[in-house]
Structures are given as C-alpha cells and as structure tokens.
C-alpha cells in the first residue's frame, strides 16, 4: 500500500521538475551567459545602469507603500468581519474572489474612467464643491491600482488567522483583567501575525513585479522593473539581459519567501 501511494506523487514529481525547476534553471543559465553562451556577470550587473536602478527603486517604493496601505485597510476589515455574525467563510471568500470573474485588465482599465480629468470621481467631487483629484498617469494612480488589485490577498489570510483564534483565549484575557486594547495587543495581534505575514508576501511580490498596472494607469511614463523586463523579452528580444534582471528580482522575492517560511509554519492558509 505504501509503495502504491508513492506512485501517486509521480505525475507531480515529473511535472514539477519539468515545468517548475528546469525553467527556473533556464533563467539562471540565460542570466549568466552572453549571446555566444559564454559565462558573464554583465546581465545581472546591468541592474546598476541608471535607468534600471531608477526603475527598481520606484518599484520597491511603490510596492512598499501599497503593501502598507493594504495592511492598514485590510486589518480593521478582517477584524470587523471575523467578529461579525457572518461566520460563513465561504461567503467571505465569495465576496472577495468574485471580482476576479471580471477580467483584471478591464477592472484596472475601469479606474481610468473613474479617475480621468472629467471622470466619474471628479464629477462627484465638483458636484460636492470639493477640489478635483488629478492622479491619473501619476505614481498615485499606480498605487491605487495595486491596492485595488491586491487587497483581497491581504484580507483573506488575515481574516483566516483571526477566525482561527479560540474565543476562549480572548475571554480568558478579559477575565484576567485585560482591557480591549491590551487584549488586542497581547493576544489577538500576536496570533494573527502568520496571516499578516502571508498577506504581506502575497501583496508585495506582485506589486513589486507588475508591469500591467503601471502600463495602464501610469500612462506609459513610469517604468517599473517589471516593465523593463517585459520589454527586454517582448520588444528587445534580449533574453539574456531580461533573465539577468529577473535573477535580481528573484533575490527580493526570496527575501520575502524567507520571511514567510520563518513565520508561516502552517503554509497554505491563504484560502
């Protein structure tokens, strides 16, 4: 029986080797070779070129800001929802996964309509005699797009961590004389950290590496590191430099993965 069970892992064993590990090795192979396939560090070093440094720094900055905003927006929401009468987590996931059924490019594009100079938001603002909001084609619009697109990935893991907390633990803290704030700081918050960390990873990685959101809401003026890599592959056809930059990008992702592995022992609490 035991041997037979191992057979079940074979399809995935081969699949993961062929379509996950070997492709990753290919990036390293291309990243460390030139067009004649000689070993070189130049591709990776090209991240130090001024325009690439600029793209990388803007990407990191925007990713940090939008991750922080996501935490600030998602945590209170997850807290409220985890205490509310709606205990059906299926419903929760439904409300936050549902938007995905409308194509994400179209949803991002819709923000153009909303944010434009004569767009919906400005019409409402001028109706209320409030100053206009002119953020389309600026980094602010990109941040908004990132927060909008990745917020569900912050809400769900935090919510899952909060729902799992045993109410008896909270009651015990209250019985022992902790006030609401103390209960939150010393009981609820520490127990929610694994969810928070997976949320941060789930948001910061796509935010750091996106090229679509900056394309659509940045008006093509703001290049993120994702845009640079995409152009190397799709326009310049320079796979070597593109791979080299991807390796640099992966270093940052590895950093995030390390953090997750350290805090999120359970794994897969996202859904």
């Amino acid at each position: 029986m035991k041997n037979k069970k191992h057979l079940l892992s074979f399809p995935y064993l081969f699949w993961s080797a062929g379509f996950i590990l070997i492709p990753l090795c290919m990036i390293f192979f291309y990243g460390f070779t030139d067009k004649q396939l000689h070993f070189t560090f130049e591709n990776v070093a090209s991240v130090a070129e001024p325009e690439n440094v600029k793209a990388l720094l803007i990407s990191i900055l925007l990713a940090l800001i939008s991750t922080a905003i996501c935490v600030l927006l998602a945590y209170p929401l997850a807290l409220i929802l985890s205490r509310s009468a709606i205990k059906n987590s299926g419903f929760m996931i439904f409300v936050f996964i549902l938007p995905m059924w409308m194509n994400f490019l179209l949803r991002t594009l819709a923000w153009q309509t909303l944010l434009e100079k004569n767009g919906v938001i400005n019409m409402i603002l001028s109706f209320l005699h409030l100053p206009n909001l002119n953020i389309i084609n600026t980094p602010y619009a990109i941040i908004l797009g990132m927060v909008y697109n990745f917020l569900p990935f912050m809400i769900l893991p935090i919510y899952n961590a909060l729902v799992k907390i045993d109410p008896n633990v909270i009651n015990a803290a209250r019985d022992l004389g902790a006030n609401g704030l103390q209960t939150f700081l010393y009981v609820i918050f520490p127990l929610s950290i694994p969810g928070l960390i997976s949320g941060i990873t789930m948001v910061s990685v796509p935010a750091l590496t996106t090229f679509v959101i900056s394309d659509m809401l940045g008006g093509g003026k703001i290049l993120l590191i994702g845009n640079v890599i995409e152009q190397e592959f799709k326009q310049a056809n320079n796979w070597h430099v593109g791979s080299g930059l991807s390796i640099v990008l992966m270093l940052f992702i590895l950093l995030a993965m390390g953090l997750t592995a350290k805090y999120d022992k359970e794994g897969g609490s996202y859904f």
Binding site: M1, K5, H6, L8, S9, P11, Y12, L13, W15, S16, F19, I22, P23, L24, I27, Y30, L77, I80, L81, N88, F91, V95, I97, L98, P99, M100, W101, M102, N103, L105, L106, R107, L109, A110, W111, T113, L114, N118, Y148, P152, V205, P206, L208, T209, F211, V212, G226, I229, E230, F233, W239, S243, S246, M250, I253, A256, M257, G267, G268, F271
Partner: protein, 265 residues
Amino acid sequence: MRSVCKKLYIAFILLLLYAPIITLVVLSFNASKTRAKWGGFTMKWYGSLFKNEQIMGALYTTLLLAILSALIATLIGTAAAIAMNGMQAKARMYFTAVTNIPMLNADIVTGISLMLLFLAFDAVFGFKTVLLAHITFNIPYVILSVLPKLKQTNRSVYEAALDLGATPVYAFFKVVFPDILPGVLSGFFLSFTMSLDDFIITHFSKGPGLDTLSTKIYTEVKKGIKPEMYALSTLMFMTVLVLIVLVNYIPDAGSKLQKEKALKE
C-alpha cells in the same frame, strides 16, 4: 455608533472593490463607442457581441483553457496531495518547497521561465504551451486546497474499512474521498478562476495567432476597447453571481451546508 462605523467601513471597502465593476457594467450599456462619454442607454453591444467572431473565439479559447487546465491540475494535484499526506518528512519537504515556488514567485518570472523552456525545446507557441503553463500554476492551488482536508480525515476510519475487508482503492473512494471532496472542488474552482483571470503568464507562453480574453483586451487597450468586451464581461460576471447565489442560498443546499458544519463541530 460603533456598529454604524463598522458598517460604513465595510461599505467603503466594498465600494472600492466593486466601483470598477459597476463602471464596466454601466459602460456595457453606453451607446457611445468611447468610454469617456455617455451616449445614452443601449443594448446593442449585447447583440453584436455574439456576431463578433474574434471575441467569441477568444472566449472559447479562454473557457477551454480554464476547464482543461483546472481538470488536469485537479487530477495531478489531488494525487500529489494524497501522496504528500502519507510521506516522510524529507520527501514531503521537496514537494512543499516546489509547490511554494509558483505560489510565491512573481508571475512575470514564472512566465519568462516557461517561455525560455518552450524556446529551448523549439515548441510551437500556441494553445498547448499556454495549457501547459496554466496547469503548472494551477496545481499548487489544488494541493493547498486538498491537503488541509486530508489532514482532517480520520485515519482509523480508513483502517477500519480495510479491516472489514475493503480493498485500499475501494476504502479510499468510500471513506476518504467524500471527506476531501469539498477541498478537491474548491481547488478545481480556484484553478478555473485563476486560469480565467490570468494575463501575465499567458502573455509570455502564447504565440501570435492565439488570443485569450485577457491578451485580446491587452492589445485592444491602446486602440480602444470594443464595447462588446464590456458586454461580455458583464454577462460572465452576472452568470457567476447568479450561479453562486443559487448554490449558496437554495434552501436545500443551505441546510446541507449547515448540517456539514454542525457535524464538524
């Protein structure tokens, strides 16, 4: 007072999440061809949608991809999860790590790595390459949905079935499988949704002749989106909404869910 604040806050987040969706629904009824101007109410895009062969072709490709990739990923992923559940720590570590790679890695890196692989094997970029790519990023979602359910199953029940003379396969399908079925199904639907909504990985693994809805929209962004696209996405959204509401709120299905929950507790 506090509960009003809480409700307002939930409403604010939902508004943020659903504002673009409302916008797209409204645009699908817009008689003017540009999205900047409101030209009056019309239903004509819903009619011309079904005559637009390009959009219908992209829809067909997208749905076929989503169904096939979700099915294959569910098969491979469920099998892998069952094997992983009974594995020793070391072997299990390989699978856990390898499953985390596509989950945590950037889509652009996953896309590029697959593109390089297909290039190295001189593969023809088309439906097959995109399908392989979608299966690859879907398997981890299935594994992560099924594994927790497997951990909840009670091993002694399975062993009791064996003691009573059931073959391992029979015992599995009679005893274990019903318990993990919700995980398998949610893995399938999650995969389906991810495949449907994917742009980045498809962008790098597709060839020039093939378009999914996502890649079609991406090329249309610069020229201007055809209003039929808004109509189509409104229809898809409404279909899913109705389906989910039916599944969740049909009284019969609802009470069944509650029963399950009560049993668990």
